[in-house]
């Protein structure tokens, strides 16, 4: 929570700016001043963080903190409306701060250009009244939840996948937390990321705006926040449903007798191997670099190249693979593979994650497979930049 207890009042310029709030009976001057004296931390300045940050700045939340360490990429612009075409290549937070300052100069923006970690999360989260979690991976989801529970900071959670979204409010004093709903993360690989699965650009706009709505309700104390309720949104059928989320009396972190009282190693918790540890177990698979593949192709000793992405991805960008079988279909369609057990096979996907799974599978079946390190992204970056990245 904010240490600063001094209450700032609204200037005449602010009274003009927030006129439509001030005339709302439920809101009024009191609500507006509550916003001005409040702070919110947005974890992730991407698809969800963009609309959330813009609406919260426009609404007059006095202090907005942003956590993100990425640069703006062209493929962000389809949904991350904080950024414009001229921002491509810039650090996201530089561009975001400019945009928010222009939107509302009465808002103080703090940049946290770091990867949120067990080392820094408590310090950062503790500076804010409310957190809005719009991250893209399970380790950070659990980290944000635990940091919010341990510091007593409400967490407005939102998540999206393709045409679907989820919103809830966790870690309030009496409400449930993210772990009450999802005790454990799914094993890596079972749930595809947005980059693999795609996302309708307007969906984070819809869901991030709902997130901003819940933040404003918490900060002003109006309405009924989504505490103990999970809002499920389907943009295709345009159905909104709420499911009840109960506080788990045995929750490891938010129950009366927690077994976890500090932050942990979230990568390990989510089953993601530590990059610093040697991977000499049987899980490691042989790798081929994009340069090795290029060289082999140029010298006429090209291996058999198997693309394990979805067909629509190959329409976006291709490195002329010999065959395409999506990784999830590979076990059922192995008989279709146009390579025998002796032929060297190089397996590729977008970034190298799905192809690693496929390579593992093929090697278990006795094939001479290796994983194209870095996937088509590495090929585009290091070999042929006419191959689009996505």
């Amino acid at each position: 929570m904010q240490a600063d207890n001094q209450t700032a009042t609204l200037s005449s310029e602010e009274l003009r700016r927030y006129n439509r709030h001030l005339t709302l009976p439920e809101f009024g001057r009191e609500g507006q001043e509550a916003l001005k004296n409040a702070s919110v931390l947005l974890v992730g300045a991407g698809g969800l963080g963009s609309p959330a940050a813009m609406y919260l700045a426009a609404a007059g939340v006095g202090h907005i903190g942003l956590v993100d360490f990425d640069h703006v990429e062209a493929s962000n612009l389809q949904r991350q409306i904080l950024y414009g075409t001229s921002d491509v290549g810039r650090p996201k937070l530089d561009a975001a701060e400019e945009r928010l300052n222009d939107l509302n100069p009465h808002v103080e923006v703090t940049r946290h250009a770091v990867r949120l970690s067990s080392e820094n999360a408590l310090d950062i989260v503790d500076q804010y009244d409310v957190v809005a979690d719009g991250t893209d991976n399970f380790p950070t989801r659990y980290l944000v939840n635990d940091a919010c529970v341990l510091t007593g900071t409400p967490n407005v959670y939102a998540s999206i996948f393709r045409f679907e979204g989820q919103v809830s409010v966790f870690a309030t004093e009496d409400g449930p937390c993210y772990r009450c709903l999802y005790e454990e993360p799914p094993p890596p690989g079972l749930v595809p990321s947005c980059a693999e699965g795609g996302v309708l650009g307007v969906l984070p706009g819809l869901v991030g705006t709902l997130q901003a709505t819940e933040v404003i309700k918490l900060l002003t104390g109006i309405g009924e926040p989504l505490i103990g309720r999970l809002l499920m949104i389907n943009a295709l059928s345009m159905n909104f449903r709420t499911l009840r989320v109960r506080k788990n009396p045995d929750c490891v972190i938010c129950s009366d007798n927690p077994t976890q009282t500090e932050l942990i190693d979230y990568e390990a918790f989510c089953g993601i191997p530590d990059a610093n540890e040697s991977t000499d177990d049987d899980m490691a698979v042989p790798e081929t670099t994009v340069h090795e593949l290029k060289q082999a192709r140029d010298s006429g000793t090209a291996p058999f190249v198997l693309d394990v992405r979805k067909p629509h991805e190959a329409e976006i960008a291709s490195i002329e693979a010999d065959q395409l079988i999506p990784v999830d279909e590979l076990p059922d369609r192995l008989s279709e593979l146009n390579a025998d057990a002796e032929t060297p096979i190089v397996v590729h996907c977008r970034s190298g994650a799905r192809s690693e799974r496929a390579t593992k599978f093929l090697r278990q079946k006795g094939y001479n497979a290796s994983n194209l390190k870095g996937g088509i992204l590495a090929w585009s970056k290091e070999i042929d930049d006419s191959v689009p990245t996505y």
Partner: protein
Amino acid sequence: MSTPTVTLHIPTPLRSATNDQATVNATGDTVRTALQNLVERYPDLKSNLYNDDGALRQFVNIYVDDEDIRYLDGPDTALTDGAEVSIVPSIAGGRSR
């Protein structure tokens, strides 16, 4: 009385196993039997819903109408005709790159 027919809501990440259908009808007196009925027709769902011991995976939440079966009778929760059973998965997306 005939076995209740219920509507099962299939989340997007699992729809490749149900020919992209978002809702599927299933029959069963309990959540357990309705899910069995579902998996018999869409066997690809099995590994997503159950672990090797045949128990429901921990990260899969099952709801009957708006209530988590953990706070009802678990897989033995009784179903009535027209009940809505939802499989609620964790999804992580947001700051998607």
